[in-house]
Each structure stands twice: as structure tokens, then as C-alpha cells.
């Protein structure tokens, strides 16, 4: 009776850090996936740990949980988390219908095809709606990618990428104006995105000539 109590004094993150190769933490990790979904948090390390345990004992795999992990991984774009998860999921499992759809969705996101992505997502609402924050996460990825690429872009291009128009798009832009430094041009409604080193390369700091102190420290004996 003592051990479960003892265990519960650890957080799941700690379990993953201290004892990742223990089959007994599998149920904790599964619960943790559900917790991530409801509380809109995310832990790649814990989820990879669970996928690894499934890989060690395929008979314990719960495909429902796997689907949730994959949706969370899509939401982590632009990080390659979706591929990192797929590397651990056997091919025959990937053949299941729900996973095939998620793979197609990932493909559209990876190749910047937002229009196709939103069309396909609409067809899979029943899977995606179970994970709160999905749309917002993809919209955040879309705006991230746009701001790496554009200084200024037409409203229509933005509308397509975030899948919004009319009043909801106005509201979205309004929010970005206030919080992220977007500017809307008066004459044609084009959107000026905030500057970063990727859309304004002149901002890129020249860090190449910084030599860390440890490196110089190695020749101190010589200099002295």
C-alpha cells in the first residue's frame, strides 16, 4: 500500500526524468496525456517516453491516446514533434484511418498549404475537436511562418493561412495589433508584420566573432 502513495509524491515529469525505463509508469503517462489535453499544456519528453513504452510492449498500446499525442504534436509546429512521434509508431498502426488523416494534415502544414489543411481539418472535426486549443495553435504556427517570410502581405493571404474572414479576421488582426505589433496599412489594407531577423536580415546579429571566455582561458597559461 505504501508504494502508490510514494509514487504520487512525484510529478509525472520527475518520473520521466528519474525512471524513464519503468513499465509501471505507463498508466501515469497515459493519464498525463489526457491532462495535457484538458489543461492545454504539453510535454514532448513525457509523450515520447510513453510511445517508447508502447514500442517495448505493443500489446499495451492504446491508439486513442496515441491519436491525442499526435494532435498535440501537430500543435507544436514548427517543431518536428509530429515526425518524432511517428518514428516510434509501427507502420501497421499508422495505417489506421484516423492516423492517416493526421499524417495528411501534417503533410499540409509541413508544406505550407494552409488552405488544403483547413479543408482537411474540417472533415476530421470529430477527432480534432476533442483537443482544446487546436485551431489557435495552428493559427499561431501560420502567423509564425508568415512572419519569417513576409515583411508585408495582402490580407487575403493571411485570411487563407489562418482560415478566417470578415469580422472574425478583423478581431484576430485587432488582437495582433495590440499584442504583437502588427500594422495595417491604410491605403490597401496590407498587413505589416513585426520585424525579426528572418524577414529583416539586417537585424541579424553578427555573433560569429564572439569567442567564449572558456576558449580564451585555455591559453591563459601561455599568455601569462
Amino acid at each position: 500500500m505504501e508504494s502508490p502513495k510514494e509514487q504520487s509524491s512525484y510529478t509525472v515529469e520527475q518520473l520521466v526524468a528519474v525512471n524513464p525505463f519503468n513499465p509501471e509508469i505507463l498508466p501515469d503517462l497515459e493519464n498525463y496525456v489526457n491532462e495535457q489535453v484538458t489543461s492545454q499544456t504539453y510535454s514532448l519528453d513525457a509523450n515520447l517516453c510513453l510511445l517508447r513504452l508502447y514500442q517495448f510492449e505493443p500489446e499495451r498500446m492504446n491508439t486513442h491516446v496515441v491519436a491525442r499525442i499526435l494532435i498535440k504534436a501537430l500543435m507544436a509546429m514548427p517543431s518536428p514533434d509530429f515526425s518524432l512521434c511517428l518514428f516510434l509508431i509501427p507502420e501497421r498502426v499508422q495505417m489506421e484511418e484516423q492516423f492517416k488523416s493526421l499524417i495528411v494534415l501534417s503533410h499540409y502544414l509541413e508544406t505550407g498549404r494552409f488552405q488544403q489543411f483547413w479543408d482537411e481539418a474540417a472533415k476530421n472535426r470529430h477527432i480534432l475537436e476533442t483537443v482544446p486549443g487546436f485551431e489557435q495553435a495552428i493559427q499561431a504556427y501560420a502567423t509564425h511562418l508568415l512572419s519569417l517570410s513576409y515583411q508585408k502581405l495582402p490580407r487575403s493571404v493571411l485570411a487563407e493561412a489562418v482560415n478566417m474572414d470578415g469580422a472574425s479576421l478583423d478581431k484576430f488582426i485587432e488582437h495582433q495589433l495590440k499584442n504583437s505589433g502588427w500594422i495595417v496599412e491604410k491605403e490597401n489594407g496590407s498587413i505589416v508584420l513585426p520585424q525579426n531577423e528572418f524577414n529583416h536580415p539586417e537585424l541579424k546579429k553578427n555573433t560569429s566573432e564572439n569567442v567564449p571566455l572558456e576558449h580564451i582561458a585555455r591559453i591563459f597559461p601561455i599568455l601569462g
Partner: protein
């Protein structure tokens, strides 16, 4: 210091030849040739006296020479047969068996029973080390070989187990009965326990603050303690990187390596096999994570190192393995550079080797037609780790082989990535020759409509910008761009010349030369 061993100089006696040399000779595990007697006696003494140099010589040279001469296609004498010559020393016997099995795996094909026995031997050996009753000082080379061999035999076992089709009933019964042998949990837990128990991560942390010495002494302990647990723990981090690569978990693999700063020299560079294994797996994992620049940078460094030092390793028993990994890393470098052109990161001599080996293939890979995918497939298959399926078979009829499953999955995923990038080399060709170009014009050149071109450009941005381990976005593009409404502006990144490091190296070199000159006494 210069002890001469009779087993190296003395002519092989008739008895040895007759018993061991002939093709049809029967292997008698209980027969111990004089040369082996002398070998174990000396080895035992050197271990007790903590004579690391002599132990190293015996492992690297004498053991190989004897194996070549007497045990070309038979195992060494059994541990029971040599035990009387070494006071039946428990730990020495474990070490002897470790070498015994390593030799067997290298030269013969182990039976299932032998695989299981070898696992048991590693368990006993690691238990002894973990419980801290070891007072030995062993060469880094040997300690690396232990971790390396442990992971290799695990991988080999997974491959063997997955070939279910032609297993005999006895083999299957034995497999079922010994389900703990080479169990993935067991293997990973041993490696992790060695890392934990050795407190190597804390030691490396404290070393940065000058509170501890590890790297400076190459991991050896000159104050009378043992280096075994510490160094095994250190190498186990590389072992864990490797196992995770074999499983396809590249992210976690790299996390295990993090305590080792691979931009610097370290204990991992003190053993060439470890140096190569570390960089090979680091580079491969980064390739799969799309951090091409990190992969290219480290591949370049190690390939240059091998290029310059190859001749010193010719006599090493690991030489063949070294050459093979060298070739594989050139193949991986060709893949990285085809996906992410970065010639400025590659040293001249590495580049000319690369062109010689893969120049023509790399040209064809740029075309992204079926033939090009074929070459990506070929190079990946040639150079990837031997992926494993870690789970036990179901043992239900019909028995099927699943030893290729893991490899096929990783290959498929990799080629999928390549296909997603197939239009990028085309767009790059145009970006290279313009400083600015309108979307309409480029769309026209590329024979696509404007919305499609926008998606291609977004893909280019996404695929050339990776997310670093700290979550920061890193550009891997040598040609980049930004769009202002309908115009594309091209940015060519200037190579970062590292004068600082260059001067540091030259200062150290000059100091060395001056010291040498000071030592010369002129009459």
C-alpha cells in the same frame, strides 16, 4: 616496463598447432595453451597492480595476436579452464568472459545459449561495478569496448530474435524461457544505472566550475581510486544515445548526450571508436531532426580528423570499423548537403573526398526525380544505424520475420521528408541568380500559379529553419529571402569566418614550437 611475454616470441608449440590450428581440429574448451596461461597470469597481475598501460597493450595487441594465431575460428579456452591460473578471482573471470564473448561474436556466430550467457555475464559484471566493490583501474579503450559491445550484442540479439521464420522448436522454447535475456528494459536500466551511480553528470557539471577533474586526467584516477564506474557511466551516455537512435527516438537520444560538450575535446575523444560512434549518432539524429547544419558541422570535423589521423590507426583492431563508419558518414554528409546546401561549412579536403565519392550522385540527387529518390534511398540504407524492434515476438503461428520492420519505417519516414522538400532545390536555383524578383515572374518561371508559389516559399522557409534544442529558430539556409507584398528579396548569408578560434589554435601551436626549440641545446 619492457616485459617480454613468451607467448609473443616463443615459436608456437606443436601441441597448440595440432589442437587449435587445423581445420578439422576439435575445439577443447578445457585445453589451455601455454601462451594463454602466460597471457592470463600477466593480465591478472597487471590488473591487480593497476598497470593501465600494460593492460591496454595486452588487450589491444597480445589478445589480438593470440586470437589471430590460435583462435581464428574457435573460441578461447573456457573460463573454468583458466580460472585456476588467476586464483579463481571472480572479477577477473567476469572480465575474461567479457573478452571471450567479444571474440566469439567477432569471429564466429554465437548460438542462442551463448547470447544468453553473454548477457548474464554483463549483468554480473555491471552488478559488481554498480555495487562499488571494484578497485581496478582499466584502460578507457576496454571500458568503451564493454559499453559498445553490450549495445552491439543487444542490437544483434534483437535482429536475431526478429528472424522467427527459421527458428527451431528448441530455440523458441529457449527464447520463451529466457525472456529476461537482452530485454530492452534490462539493457536500458543498466546503462541508466551506470550513469546515475557514477554521478558522471554532476562530475562534468562540477568540472566546469573547476571543482572536479575528469577530462584533464582522461577519466583516470591518480589518487588510488577506481576509474571503472565513472568512465563506464560516461560511456553509457553515448551508449544510451546509440540505443535511442536504434529505437528511432532521436530527441531523447540527443538529450542523453547533452552533458558531454561535443564542441570540445573530452574523454569521448580519447578512444577513437567512441569518438566516431558519438559523432555518427549525433549527426544522424540531427539529420532526422532536420538540423542539417549541426549534422554537417560535426560530420565535417570528424571526417577531417579521420582523414588526417587514419594512418595511426591502421594496426588497431577497430580499423575496419573505422573505415566503414568513415564511408557511412560521407554518405550521410552527401545526404545532408543535398537537402541543405552548405558547402562553406565543409573543409577543402573533406569536400574533395566527398566529390570523389559522391559528386556524381549528389548532382543527380538535386533533380528530385525517381532516380534521385532511389539514390536517397540507397545512401540512407547504406549509412543508417541497424534499427531494431525491441519487443518480443508473439510466438503465435505463423511465425513471421520482423527484423526489417524498424528499418523500413525509418526509411519511409525519411523519404517522405525528402519528397516534401522536392521543390526546394528548384526555387533555390532561381533565388541564387536574382537579388529581387516579383512573385508573378518567379511563378511563371517555375510554371506554377501564384498561390502555389507562395506555399513553396513557405515550405522553403519552414524546412530551412529548424528549431534548436533551446526552442530558438535557427536558419540553415545559405540562400534566404523575404517577401514584401509581391516582391521577393534574396539574401545570401555570408559565411562566418572564425578568426578567433583560428588565432587561439595558432597561439597554442606557436607556444608548442617555442617550447620544443627551448629544449634543443645548441653546442
Amino acid at each position: 616496463m619492457t616485459t617480454t611475454y613468451d607467448f609473443e616470441d616463443a615459436p608456437t608449440n606443436y601441441d597448440d598447432v595440432q589442437r587449435q590450428g587445423g581445420q578439422d581440429a576439435v575445439y577443447d574448451p578445457n585445453f589451455v595453451p601455454d601462451s594463454v596461461k602466460s597471457f592470463v597470469v600477466h593480465m591478472y597481475r597487471h590488473i591487480r597492480e593497476k598497470n593501465v598501460y600494460e593492460i591496454h597493450q595486452m588487450c589491444e595487441t597480445s589478445f589480438q595476436t593470440l586470437s589471430e594465431r590460435l583462435f581464428k575460428d574457435t573460441p578461447w579456452p573456457s573460463v573454468e579452464a583458466i580460472a585456476p591460473y588467476v586464483d579463481n578471482d571472480h572479477v577477473f573471470c567476469l572480465l575474461y568472459r567479457e573478452m571471450w564473448f567479444r571474440h566469439l561474436y567477432a569471429r564466429l556466430s554465437p548460438t542462442l545459449k551463448q547470447r544468453i550467457d553473454s548477457y548474464d555475464n554483463y549483468c554480473s559484471l555491471f552488478q559488481v561495478v554498480l555495487h562499488g566493490v571494484v578497485n581496478m583501474q582499466l584502460p578507457n579503450q576496454w571500458l568503451w569496448d564493454m559499453v559498445d559491445e553490450f549495445v552491439y550484442q543487444f542490437q544483434s540479439f534483437c535482429q536475431y530474435r526478429a528472424k522467427m521464420k527459421n527458428k527451431t522448436e528448441q530455440e523458441i522454447a529457449l527464447l520463451k524461457q529466457n525472456d529476461k535475456a537482452w530485454n530492452v528494459y534490462g539493457v536500458l536500466n543498466f546503462l541508466q544505472a551506470l550513469v546515475e551511480k557514477s554521478t558522471i553528470i554532476q562530475i562534468l557539471e562540477q568540472e566546469k566550475e573547476g571543482l572536479e577533474q575528469f577530462t584533464a586526467t582522461d577519466g583516470y584516477d591518480y589518487s588510488g581510486g577506481s576509474n571503472v564506474l565513472k568512465v563506464l557511466g560516461y560511456f553509457s551516455m553515448v551508449g544510451l544515445l546509440r540505443v535511442h537512435c536504434l529505437l528511432g527516438d532521436y530527441h531523447t537520444g540527443l538529450k542523453w548526450l547533452q552533458p558531454i560538450d561535443i564542441t570540445q575535446q573530452g574523454v569521448y575523444t580519447s578512444v577513437i571508436g567512441c569518438h566516431i560512434a558519438t559523432i555518427y549518432h549525433y549527426g544522424f539524429a540531427n539529420l532526422m531532426l532536420r538540423r542539417y547544419v549541426d549534422a554537417v558541422r560535426e560530420f565535417n570535423k570528424i571526417l577531417l580528423y579521420i582523414y588526417k589521423t587514419k594512418q595511426y590507426h591502421q594496426k588497431s583492431p577497430q580499423y575496419e570499423q573505422l573505415l566503414k563508419k568513415n564511408e557511412q558518414m560521407y554518405a550521410l554528409l552527401a545526404v545532408c548537403l543535398s537537402l541543405c546546401p552548405q558547402t562553406k561549412l565543409v573543409d577543402e579536403s573533406v569536400n574533395s573526398q566527398l566529390r570523389e565519392k559522391y559528386g556524381e550522385k549528389m548532382m543527380r540527387m538535386q533533380r528530385y526525380d525517381d532516380e534521385a529518390f532511389g539514390i536517397y534511398d540507397e545512401l540512407f540504407s547504406y549509412a543508417c544505424p541497424k534499427f531494431i524492434t525491441p519487443s518480443a515476438p508473439s510466438f503465435e503461428e505463423p511465425l513471421v520475420n520482423y527484423n526489417q520492420d524498424a528499418y523500413r519505417l525509418q526509411l519511409k519516414m525519411f523519404l517522405y521528408e525528402v519528397k516534401q522538400q522536392q521543390l526546394l532545390s528548384g526555387v533555390r536555383t532561381f533565388l541564387k541568380v536574382y537579388s529581387s524578383i516579383s512573385l508573378a515572374k518567379l511563378a511563371n518561371y517555375m510554371e506554377v500559379d501564384e498561390p502555389t508559389l507562395r506555399t513553396i516559399l513557405l515550405t522553403y522557409k519552414h524546412k530551412t529553419h529548424s528549431v534548436g534544442s533551446d526552442g530558438k529558430i535557427i536558419s540553415n539556409a545559405d540562400i534566404d529571402f523575404y517577401i514584401n507584398n509581391d516582391m521577393i528579396y534574396v539574401v545570401e548569408s555570408k559565411p562566418a569566418k572564425r578568426y578567433g578560434d583560428f588565432f587561439l589554435r595558432q597561439i597554442a601551436k606557436l607556444e608548442g614550437v617555442i617550447n620544443d626549440m627551448d629544449r634543443i641545446k645548441l653546442e
